[in-house]
Symmetry: C2
Subunit: 166 residues, 2 copies
DNA sequence: CTTATCTTTCAGAAATAATTGAAAGTTTAG
DNA sequence: CTAAACTTTCAATTATTTCTGAAAGATAAG
């Protein structure tokens, strides 16, 4: 398999994975493209490579910057803006975990918390509270573990994962 | 807040969370509804509660059964089929982890593996292989940790999470 | 200031996903 | 067997998300 072919396949696979986890396909693809690109790319180059429109490229590049997954690189003497993605996978995973936690887990935790305030002492209400409380506790634990991961040093994950598997 | 209201809000929140993680909103809502229902429900009752069509209800109930999140309950003397969801949250999370791993992580691991076979020894190819290998290794670690979680006893997660946080 | 280069915006178009509802299929009771 | 009760299927519709491309907005060079 040729390099160009492998890259294309990687970009494709990454886009599919992203979209099955609720992330826009193009956004994942641009991210993948920048991860495997040896040098920063301009919007134009990204458009050409992925065969997408200017608007689409611009919008998703900005989303990736919002997620702190892509950085703008200003090349001296160049008018255009160039973009690059971090290639340290653990760092990338950490960043994604951080953002999804903030955007999706934190809000639901608040809802769970507020639902514990439901009135009533009958069995059905108690059962409901129990489920909600367990769900909240579980989510808290996941959060805490993610927090640890997010704040940890670069090798923590590998070391810990090995420990957990033993 | 009244119980019925709290349940409705929970169902709504769960649906939203699901859809931002790539799971059909109705599927998540039916799951939530069954989790907080004290007794098994028929398709008819689910349709009424969530104001959805028969076809939609049927399709998503079946999807939930595919995911092993919902079980058919045959009530003696009743013609209708009734459905119930497991209420042990750790068990539910484990089941979801198991299915998503199988459906989405395993396939991408295969792709990663095949991409390592790319030809060439130039710098760009070496860099590509490095990224792909790291990504594969990382995904493997996540997989292994999930496996451990999936196969573990009911309290493993809580105990381990506490340990990791210390 | 004017022009050329580049970026952003956004309304409409296209693509994708979810939903409906009626018809067909099944199962069980009588 | 026949009819009633229930479930499944699926073509058509509706809703949602994504994408396009042209126009407007910046920015810097000349």
């Amino acid at each position: 398999m040729k390099l160009a072919e492998a890259k294309a396949e990687f970009i494709q696979a990454w886009g599919t994975l992203g979209s099955s986890w609720g992330i826009n396909r193009t956004m994942s693809q641009i991210h993948a493209l920048l991860i495997v690109s040896p040098k920063p790319m301009s919007a134009e180059e990204i458009m050409d490579e992925l065969k997408i429109s200017r608007g689409n490229a611009n919008m998703n590049i900005r989303a990736l910057m919002d997620w702190n997954l892509v950085k703008k690189q200003l090349i001296p003497g160049e008018r255009k803006e160039y973009f690059s993605a971090g290639k340290d996978i653990v760092e990338v995973a950490r960043q994604i975990a951080k953002e999804r936690k903030r955007r999706e887990i934190d809000p639901i935790l608040e809802v769970m918390e507020s639902l514990k305030k439901v009135e009533g002492t009958d069995q059905e209400t108690e059962d409901f509270k129990k489920v909600i409380t367990e769900l909240g506790d579980f989510t808290q634990k996941v959060e805490s573990t993610l927090d640890k991961f997010i704040r940890s040093d670069k090798n923590w994950f590998y070391k810990t994962a090995i420990k957990l598997m033993s």
